[in-house]
Symmetry: D2
Subunit: 328 residues, 4 copies
């Protein structure tokens, strides 16, 4: 955690010297979960920059898929998917600021099998969908219920996966839009970036008073692109520390870890998401690290790292990053 003291969050955040209060955002406190991120919903909590929130997230199916014989088409009702905690209001946050979210811990919550994976009709990367519309018969519906703990995800007798949790959906509110929780865009949203796990800091653009922070969609593990459309979805107790950076205007979310800085873009087609991420990264490095714009463009052509978050959501997400060691 030593690196944290040099992070953007800890050097620029207004709450960096606050001891900080800890809040509990339980299922009960949350009440009804949110299915859109926007400025029209009622706040569930008010916090100060530097505070900690312990959040009880529900799984992306809100617990409705309980056994392997369940059919997603019968249990799920569009668009009421991917329930979000929030909105959490951050004191002092205004349009043009950024909210920093440090993910401290993600602990499985409840009794096994806690994990759910499934194949949903007309959803996923290797099938016709509502947007890539085909006349083919849909793929079969499949449900996997999976035991997991803080070490492993016990997929099957043959395969055990490492527990590598991350938050799939994180955002502040857009200024006037209210966007369903399945869709990522420049407010954040359903980005599904495996890098967004414990030890990471996400910077989100503030576009409405209080920022209106939403969080949900924990994944016990997820591959690049989330190819079948679903990770190992599970309920958690997730601990985050939230700070506010004043007058730090960013167009798209950004992410920082011990070793990496990453800019995040979400749109279709996928090359445009990648273009956004890389352009943001070029501009970020040129501005804050005093690189010549063309020099850093060419340097990223040598050392840039691309993470495919998802290519299954209504918009696709890509992170473009650089290792911090090059930035000294």
């Amino acid at each position: 955690m030593d690196w944290m003291k040099d992070s953007i969050m800890m050097t620029k955040g207004v709450g960096k010297n606050n001891k900080g209060e800890t809040h509990q955002l339980t299922e009960k406190t949350q009440g009804t979960y949110q299915y859109t991120m926007g400025p029209y919903s009622k706040p569930v909590m008010h916090i100060k920059p530097g505070d900690t929130v312990v959040v009880e997230t529900r799984d992306a199916f809100e617990g409705k898929i309980q056994k392997e014989s369940d059919k997603p088409s019968e249990k799920l009702e569009m668009p009421f998917l991917n329930p979000q905690n929030g909105p959490i209001m951050v004191e002092g946050a205004e349009k043009g600021d950024a909210i920093a979210v440090y993910i401290d811990k993600m602990v499985p919550r409840g009794s096994n099998p806690l994990g759910t994976c499934c194949m949903i009709e007309e959803f996923g990367a290797l099938t016709g969908t509502s947007y890539t519309a085909t006349l083919n018969d849909p793929l079969p519906e499949k449900v996997r219920k999976i035991n997991l703990d803080e070490k492993n995800v016990y997929w099957s007798d043959r395969i055990t996966l490492p527990y590598k949790p991350h938050i799939g959906t994180l955002s502040c509110s857009p200024e006037i839009d209210s966007i369903n929780s399945l869709t990522p865009d420049n407010h954040g949203g359903n980005m599904d970036l495996p890098d967004m796990g414990p030890g990471s800091i996400t910077y989100l653009p503030v576009r409405s008073p209080g920022g209106r922070l939403f969080i949900g969609d924990a994944h016990a593990c997820q591959g690049d692109g989330e190819v079948c459309g679903v990770a190992v979805e599970y309920p958690t107790t997730t601990t985050i520390k939230v700070d506010l950076i004043k007058n730090y205007t960013i167009e798209w979310p950004r992410l920082e870890t011990k070793d990496m800085l990453m800019a995040i873009g979400s749109t279709r087609p996928l090359e445009d998401a990648t273009r956004i991420a890389y352009r943001e990264l070029v501009r970020w490095l040129a501005k804050d690290f005093k690189f010549d714009q063309w020099d850093i463009y060419m340097i990223l052509s040598q050392v840039g790292k691309v993470r495919l978050g998802n290519f299954v959501d209504p918009k696709y997400t890509v992170g473009a990053g650089i290792e911090k060691k090059y930035l000294k």
Copy 2:
């Protein structure tokens, strides 16, 4: 107008036998225009199926671009663009129904130069944009103020264009999303289809009580794709007749004219918008006109008509149509 009596609207609409009341939705009645289409805004009017509404639409820039020396970057403030009239509540409309909007007349409103066209930085098809992110310098900002009347659009000494008006943005509300008026999707929205002019009927999916109809963004003329991002934008008095078709569940908007049926899809990339439109058309014709699905798929490969609405908005719009003469 004889064809109207055989239209879907007139054969299935619940208001077809109503004499129908005429409502005035003036600038004053509207008050604040809407910049998102969603379920959270306050209705401006309640009507019955079969009623007529005379709507005072504002131009897409809400009149802020007044002379050719104006700079769009100084006059316009994102995301407060493309002001919409509405929401208009239609009595009896419920999720699973469709609302039919017959456009009767579009009359220019105010004094010349009524038309505005411009080049906006990082907007349009032949420039890097916020989604197709490049590092190139933006194109120059340009503004054209254009005289027009119900016959012609007087572009320049060299070129006169025909007055061929249509409505650029038309929609009911999504179920839970509130979507900015620049973006089309399966609710309708900023489709920019030149076919959506006087004499056309648009069918919109109802997803919330009352339907919540929004309308705006009149174009005095527009080419396929709206390549520079802007049509000849102008304020109008637009007369529409609105009806309700119960239990007529459609996934995407549809359009009917004297000669054509058209299904409409909006997404990126453009091939996916086209796929949506054609799949909807295949399914529509198979279901309502009793074609074998594969036969009509192959027939459309011979006589299908594609209209590119726009490829400049956050999502692109395509209409796929068939001439009615093949449907007897």
Copy 3:
């Protein structure tokens, strides 16, 4: 045909005053048909600018699909599809020139049923394909054999389509690539533009000595986008007049009819094909018709016409056009 004398072909072509010889390119003269367009194949004919060629084209399946019970997967062998006549060498053609191809007549050749349409596994717009790879089961294979004459295409008892022939594949050779006849690109190729019928002139970039003209893939009719992947394919006797325009360097093919000028782009995704076509059109009109670049960009936003050729081939084709009446 009066308009022809003012066409680009007739005003700039070096053969415009030649009486012109007429050549027969029969099946026998052709011998083996071509499956790639490139600089490596042996010429079948040498002509002079202004000459006429009467070409016996074979259908896209080279006659292998003979009855409705045939299975395309058994009869067709990739990549030996879409047989082309040529290469025809045009005297004096050099890199930097353009070859003009006026299509005079397309007459069905042989005995009915002359037309073939089919659904081919993993081919077409509304199915997973080898490029839009999905795990869905393929659509069923279907074959239609169709009677046709110079008036109509007799699809079924229910539906008769108009005979509206065009050439699907037309090109000169790339400079060093040899490209299969299924793929369009900046050399022309499998563009499937319904506008490329009798009465049209296509301008093709010359990139190797003699130009090396290829032609084939006649369609008795075709809808926008050729949605199922196949038009009404048929064998023809097609009469073309070929001319040469020296030092007329074009990046992409162009098309001229009595009423329209059109630039053609082919790539994926579809918005990029459309961008290419519109950019070529902007530059063409700015250069040859003395429009201000930004003015014509905005004018095309009002009157530009887009034709979707296909969105099923390895690259998609779009034509962007303007009516000549605006160009005086």
Copy 4:
């Protein structure tokens, strides 16, 4: 190198027990380098499965960019870029086989500055290009000449990059197409995958007699996506060992390293390249590792790894991989 004995190459290759001869493919032996990969060029060498070839590759600009004041637009002549060694004929290779290429060593060749990076007009990911056609002014041309050795790439006083070489372009010949060396597709080609370095094995589909192996385009280092369009291009002496796997029919190239199996797809848009790579991987694992197709699809949703090769070439390249540890 111990893992090699369990590799697909060493377990299935017909040359695995051959001692193997070593051939020198010098600049002189090569003579004229190749700019297309196809069946029409004259072989430069015949080898046996299991043989080693020491190849003198030239840099992607064929040494024409010699100093930082050189302008790419003046020095380079399209399409004569990315010169390839080959074609190398492999004894016994026939359509339906695969050729395995183990990269043993890549050693810089010549005197410093050996590395070249540049910004080329209308090329790269963050600029309008010939395919993503815009009207913006191009980015400036820039050239960097860079010292490098087998440890480092000395980019500037501020930044030193690690020497992490790989081969950018590797392929057998397509069956009938001859494809320029800038374009990747299912034959391989200009994939620009950083994983294709020393210690990796690439499996390429054989589609013509002898396979016709081409190799070139060495990169001293390259970031994911090769964002500016150019890596650190340099001339090498590259040592490869080539084997032949009979009756091993693959649709797309595959890659194996000590820890990973990867399938490779190349097309536009980028999501389709990713779809291809993941579908190939699903089918490969289902067939050769006896996974249930749907189970491995869901498993890859948890542990799949995506590498973006490039999103700058005429087609984009993505590798989708899985760590071997999950395959026991």
